[in-house]
Subunit: 448 residues, 2 copies
């Protein structure tokens, strides 16, 4: 782990006391980036910030106050001070690293700049988080063998994994326009599906699901026609968020053959607002998923020694369900999933390299979803389709309620934490979304 530096020092503490609390998601070792505004401010005031404890360091204000006097850190802070982080993402990881080093110094206990920085902190409770980037494209992968096999067993019991699964990271283009930040309601989609009797209907989705994933924001990216060698894929990996790939299973089943999921996914995708940088996650790197006897060796273009050694990350990921009844009664959300990112058969470097391998150009702020991060155990099933065996076995919640699929008013909450002995754990914040009822079908020209 040669890329550790002073910002990772577990002894480091911040003068922002809430950052030092045990279990704090945003200690000084994290410093994720996001875009926010104070509640009530005009949309045009959206600007970049860094999370520290329960505060946000306002980067626009910090630049204005001259706290990044010159050099790479100031250039990076300026790029992150606007209404989207794309300009910073475009600069590459050295820029983000310079910014991180300077912010760490400003926020560290004993920092001489404390008196100048303290007025620039915005309480998270007074802020509204916005999408961290203008997302030009969203690509979703399918990379957990456990998730794929549980799904495949129902339809292809003899060979639940598709033949290509262990040769390439399977993916599809999903919809960028409907990616929304945590907290925005998710409207149940209307859609077309085939009932078991063969009849085809249109109406509100009857099998609404979540998918617990990690998202990757792309850094500089590549020009059209110019693939990138896997050795350099990490240079294009800016940072990570939680991602809920909401899925309408009934619509998906009917529409997906032969061209893949479309409307079953494009009605909404939720992401957590804080982007945890690759540098913040350096202490938590983990080996690639172990290949079993008989598993094909990845083709050379998807292979690198460094990636095999540390291509994954030790991140625990959890999903909670908060039903309307729990909300009314003041009950805590029920944890329905506890899994680990290290369950993924492919690494993000492999996903990114494969994505660019045909010359397809990726751009700063493009978003890649890891695929549902299910693991081998029952508690690590990371979507309702797995938890309920496609709606056939209701999930029992601790308060006596059951669920086959998500119901209106249900709220799904994701959390994640990178952990390793000897390091301060860092969190991702929340990715939440509450299901709103499907819209009534709009009126036509002749409807009264």
């Amino acid at each position: 782990m040669a890329r550790l530096n002073a910002t990772h020092d577990p002894a480091l503490r911040s003068w922002v006391e809430s950052a030092n609390a045990p279990g704090a998601e945003f200690p000084i070792q994290n410093l994720p980036l996001g875009v926010f505004r104070r509640r009530g401010e005009a949309a045009a005031r959206a600007r970049g910030g860094v999370a520290i404890g329960d505060r946000i360091l306002d980067l626009a204000a910090a630049v204005g106050a001259g706290l990044f006097a010159g050099g790479a850190a100031e250039e990076a802070a300026r790029a992150a001070a606007g209404p989207a982080l794309n300009p910073l993402m475009a600069m590459g990881n050295a820029a983000a690293s310079a910014l991180r080093a300077r912010v760490s110094a400003l926020l560290a206990a004993g920092a001489p700049e404390r008196a100048r920085v303290e007025p620039l902190l915005v309480p998270m409770a007074e802020a509204e988080m916005l999408p961290p980037a203008a997302i030009g494209a969203f690509t979703d992968f399918l990379t957990s063998t456990y998730h794929t096999e549980r799904g495949g067993r129902r339809t292809r019991p003899d060979s639940p994994l598709p033949p290509n699964f262990k040769h390439l990271p399977v993916a599809y283009n999903s919809r960028a326009s409907s990616v929304r930040v945590s907290g925005e309601a998710v409207r149940r989609p209307n859609g077309q599906r085939q009932r078991p009797d063969g009849t085809v209907h249109f109406g509100p989705c009857e099998a609404l699901d979540f998918e617990l994933e990690l998202g990757l924001f792309v850094g500089p990216g590549n020009p059209l026609g110019e693939p990138v060698h896997m050795d350099f894929a990490p240079d294009h990996m800016f940072g990570y968020c939680l991602l809920n790939d909401w899925s309408a299973r009934d619509i998906q089943r009917w529409e997906s053959h032969p061209l893949g999921p479309f409307l079953s996914k494009s009605f909404a995708t939720s992401i957590s607002p804080w982007v945890v940088t690759g540098e913040a996650l350096e202490p938590f790197r983990a080996p690639a998923f172990p290949r079993a006897a008989g598993d094909p060796e990845p083709l050379p273009y998807l292979r690198s020694e460094a990636d095999r050694r540390e291509g994954l990350m030790d991140i625990r990921m959890e999903a909670f369900l908060l039903t309307p009844r729990m909300r009314e009664r003041g009950e805590a959300p029920a944890r329905v999933t506890a899994t680990r990112f290290a369950n993924m058969y492919w690494t993000f470097a492999q996903m990114l390299t494969h994505h660019m391998s045909n010359g397809c150009n990726l751009r700063p702020g493009d978003l890649l979803g890891s695929g549902t991060a299910s693991g081998p155990t029952d508690e690590s099933r990371a979507c309702m389709a797995e938890l309920t065996e496609a709606g056939t076995q209701p999930l029992a919640l601790p308060n006596g309620e059951t669920r086959r699929w998500l119901e209106d008013g249900d709220e799904v909450i994701f959390r994640a934490r990178a952990e390793r002995d000897g390091f301060v754990p860092i969190g991702f914040g929340e990715c939440r979304g509450r299901i709103a009822p499907a819209p009534a079908w709009p009126r036509g020209r002749d409807d009264v």
Copy 2:
């Protein structure tokens, strides 16, 4: 055809003489919109223009010269004068119609403004065409029964059409970042595929194909969560172009199960630079594809009387192939496809309504591809996979050459024309792309 007006009058002629030539693609009845700059001008000079004969009316210059004095036409011209037509697309079709009426008046034979307008015409030969819009999303459909059945017969001889085909317009999200305007070279992609012996390889595509489609640019679009009734879908249909959905068939075959085509399509898509507006195409409206006995009635959300009566358009579409040998010898390109847009089982209004039916938000400048517009006859096969039965029956070209798939140096050229007795035919201009060799695989960190 209540929506015909003075701009469609077949007797109308322009003082730009080249627009009046028999067979001219851009007569005064057409007036398509595009974005251009003079060759050699800086990128920032990109601006909107209207094609007339072999000239482009510079909209930025025309606005500056006060030729749209006030009102809706001036507002629309300003929205179209910048480096992308998205602002005009966002305004809706009434704005485009006001602009069309005024431009038609300015360019009509006898126009008193001729002396002021003439200096603002740029010869097409001196212009470089740029993408007409910033394309936020590109969705590709599969709507010709003929194309789908020819493909399906190889893999599913008993039921070549997927079960959902006649119930919904099948589609997938494709890649917007790699859409390029006519004339840009198309690099053969590298990719992964499975050989008949079961082994898996990575290298230059061995089955490169074109697909002849029509593209639709979306107008205002809809907010997330708010579907649009089919009656109002035409309000969101701005205009049309030719679209070549380049396809790597070997990569496609291997990667597409279970999530659909991905890298086999995302390496490049070519579009013609001129956007022919819906209003220009009003005279050429045609009934929806006739349903046969046994075909399901479209579900109510995909049905409107107006669409059944005139949801398609009479557009002839052609594909030509220009090989390196033809180029060397000065031979004309060989026509390989002659088909009609009226072959499509679904209309663009149905595609758009379906796309929005789950609440997915479409935005101005989003692009929809019609799917390969193949017809029932041999000459109307609109891709190489059909023309050569998946590469097994070489296509014989008039000069004695043969092709199973596209070779390096081959250039594919699309043309299209809307025609109807009693009206002046209008053209789409060209959509061209020449195949460049696959890039060598880039070097890694340790490669010398």
